[in-house]
């Protein structure tokens, strides 16, 4: 039986792991390779590394880091952050990344997703979507949640699937950092409407939140960052809890 995946997300700034709470207030949470290896050993099913560096130098550091991650980590990992063209995706995949995540660039140029799927296969293309519930329904945001767009969440997710995304990583900005649980309703709707795997992100604060998202929605994976980095939830304990609730995990 296919298992539900638990994915720690590591935000990387100048080669170090940090975590933004509500997209601001960065706190240092250690070396990305060491931390990733620790997660892999403790039963993480996959890792996401998000480069939040904006400078050219920082980008080079990140590429070097991807190579080191591939060398040391024996589970799949996705890299993302500021990826906007086919050549940079190629570089990251060649360095050993299993998947790449695109976010703002896909909103700016949706054709990019078609191009990436054609060039590298849908299996390695993760489209990350940040969204928030507004007066006009769920709206997609770009640039780390700073810019509101005209795009409606569910039709945008479907468009991304149609253009060749292999997975959708959906972060509810309303829930991210709150530790009050995932955006169950939106995740339930999205995971019913799409035929590709959905990764739930934003809001995990305790193990019950993971049980809830896996029992009430059809998401394939759940992602969290700070609660893992600061050991508020340990992955082996989380998996034991999920097993007790008959959620299939490795």
């Amino acid at each position: 039986m296919l298992k539900k995946r638990i994915i720690p997300c590591l935000d990387v700034h100048n080669g170090r792991t940090v975590k933004g709470v509500n997209f601001v207030n960065l706190r240092d949470a250690g070396d990305p390779v060491e931390l990733g290896a620790l997660y892999a050993k403790s039963g993480a099913d996959e890792l996401v590394y998000l480069d939040i560096t904006a400078t050219h130098e920082g980008r080079k550091t990140f590429k070097h880091l991807v190579d080191r991650i591939a060398e040391h980590i024996d589970i799949p990992f996705t890299v993302g952050g500021g990826i906007s063209d086919v050549p940079s995706v190629n570089e990251l995949l060649q360095a050993g990344a299993d998947k790449v995540g695109v976010n703002s660039a896909a909103v700016r140029n949706p054709q990019l997703v078609d191009d990436l799927a054609l060039a590298f296969g849908s299996q390695c293309i993760v489209v990350a979507i940040d969204a928030r519930l507004t007066e006009n329904g769920w709206k997609v945001y770009t640039h780390g949640g700073r810019n509101e767009t005209e795009k409606e969440l569910f039709s945008w997710a479907k468009e991304m699937e149609n253009r060749g995304a292999g997975e959708i990583l959906f972060t509810s900005m309303d829930h991210d950092g709150t530790k009050n649980g995932f955006a169950i309703e939106a995740l339930s709707k999205m995971s019913k409407e799409l035929t590709i795997p959905i990764i739930a992100s934003g809001g995990a604060g305790n193990t019950e939140h993971f049980t809830e998202v896996f029992s009430k929605t059809d998401v394939s994976a759940a992602l969290a960052a700070s609660i893992f980095h600061f050991k508020e939830i340990e992955i082996p304990q989380l998996k034991e809890d999920l097993k007790k609730h008959n959620i299939p995990v490795r």
């Binding site: 296919l2 892999a40 996959e46 060398e71 360095a95 590298f120 394939s220």
Partner: protein
């Protein structure tokens, strides 16, 4: 021990190289017939679409070399599918090492395609799959699968049963990614090296 990884346009080559280094093997990435033939072990990685990948194999002449190899050979993921007779992915003729058809998963309620993530392996008594934990899991990413056949030495279940591992004579193949399957994957790679 000389381990050759077939060099062509496959996407996951770097990960396979690193996985071998983690178990103490320095592989050789090559498309030279002499180097491939003289290797002790040959690894045939693969990620991507079937017909374009077969095209790359033809361009490099690897399509002629692979089926005639005498040493242990292992295909990974798309490598497995292309070692079969035929794939439904763009109606692609494979290398025919395994007389097996590769089919597309048919979407069912409650399932997603691709089959992506960790799934259980049911293994037979085969040297490639010895010494695994009692409930072994491996990492899969694929939308097409090899049918269950007399060559099946390991199976998995997603929408339907399918071949997770195949074996015939000196040829082995796995649908999952041992290079990304933590300790279980490392054990399988070690088993292959020790064949």
């Amino acid at each position: 021990m000389k381990v050759a990884i077939l060099k062509y346009n496959a996407g996951n080559t770097q990960s396979v190289i690193y996985a071998l280094k983690r178990i103490g093997i320095e592989p050789l990435l090559t498309n030279t017939p002499e180097e491939i033939r003289s290797a002790d072990k040959v690894i045939f990685p693969g990620v991507g679409e079937a017909s374009t990948t077969m095209e790359h194999l033809r361009e490099t002449g690897l399509d002629k070399i692979i089926p005639t190899l005498k040493q242990p050979v292992i295909g990974i993921c798309l490598g497995l599918q292309l070692m079969c007779r035929h794939s439904e992915e763009n109606d692609t003729a494979g290398l025919g090492i395994f007389d097996v058809e590769v089919r597309k998963f048919q979407l069912e309620e409650g399932f997603k395609i691709p089959h992506m993530g960790w799934n259980t392996l049911q293994v037979t008594d085969n040297p490639l799959l010895k010494g695994l934990p009692s409930d072994p899991h491996a990492y899969f990413v694929h939308s097409y699968y090899a049918e269950i056949s007399p060559f099946t030495i390991g199976e998995s279940n997603y929408i339907n049963r399918f071949s997770a591992a195949l074996h015939r004579d000196n040829f082995y193949a796995v649908q999952f990614h041992p290079e990304k399957s933590a300790e279980t994957g490392a054990t399988i790679l070690k088993n292959f090296i020790e064949l």
